[in-house]
Amino acid sequence: MARNTATKIQLGHGGGGRMSGRLIRDLILPRLDRGYLGSLPDSVVLSGLGDSIAYTTDSYVVSPIFFPGGNIGSLAVHGTCNDLACSAARPVFLSLGLILEEGFPMDQLETILHSIAEAADSAGVEIVTGDTKVVPKGSADKIFINTSGIGKIESPVRPSPGRISVGDRIIVSGSVGNHGMAVMLSRAEFSFDFELKSDSASVWPVVERLLELGPGLKFLRDPTRGGLAATLNEIASLTGYGIAIDESAIPLDKSVVAASEILGIDPLQAANEGKIVAVVEMGMDQVALDLMEGCWQARGAAVIGGVTREHPSRVVLTTRVGGSRVVAEPSGELLPRIC
């Protein structure tokens, strides 16, 4: 990966793709890593504190702050809880940090707080500490939220990329791209009507069921920024193995397909906020699907492919017509195209 040479932060640096990667690897880690940070966990299992505890933090700076199916508040709760869930930790406590732009309407704040409460209750977490700051008009885009979360590890299963092996199967817990596409469609500059909603939800109920696979559950990740493409590439690069997936097996909502064709955006690169990618032991994929049966957050779960010795570190997709191509790591901002 080429070194970071930018002298100013660009939007792509926060996009979750290669530009973000360079910022973290070249600027942040060299200064801050003392052991835990280097493996770049979304949430980290801390030792030396008695019971195993997982800890994570995330900041939410999305625009628009209100989108179909949720708002920045519900996103801030579910997103952080889901990071914990992917470390097989039951989300328990959250902190809530608010940065508000001067002039931000109080009624919008109330709506967001209501959503935060609802999301926390539905995820079974309690917000136990918080902070509120106000900055002058223009210094923040309406509202920024940071949530840090603490989760309790209750299972001996420790999903991690090191446990993945050739032959393992890759499962996605439902249709992909819903959140990213819903947000894109709802941009003020565009004028689309649609029913598509963000899939923002807690994935812990899905993870809890998958933990019954025991050591057969190898790895979990929620494909947020950069979508499924980013997560699959992350797995490929962390393990050095190839990932082979089947386009016809990837569950896609028909609105997502339509939106992706209209705007020229790859749904595999669009964010998900209520889904997980699970890597499970070869032969256990049907068991995994059966375990998720009946869990509404995993409606539409499907096996999309597997881990292979072929094309190391690359994700290769067999297309609907039987061709094959590489799924590239997304690089920065998702943009609609006309050409």
């Binding site: 649609f194 598509l196 609105s255 064709e261 209209i262 006309i338």
Partner: protein, 79 residues
Amino acid sequence: MCLAVPMKLIEITGEGTGKVDSGGVRTDVVLSMVPQAGLGDYLIIHAGFGIEVLDEEEAHIRLDLFRELAEAYRAQDEL
């Protein structure tokens, strides 16, 4: 150089504008380049404009051709 998709005309919304739908995603489009468009037609939509009306008969002819190719291939395969 031109991303355009077929979308169904579901409503005439004004003088030279209409609403189209694909997969539940709907948008208002300008119809000035497709004056012959009627409700229920599929329009090729580019940048919020209808640029042509899909000829359904030709579309069916094309689909039939592909189905024949598929059948012939399957038949050969089975030999």
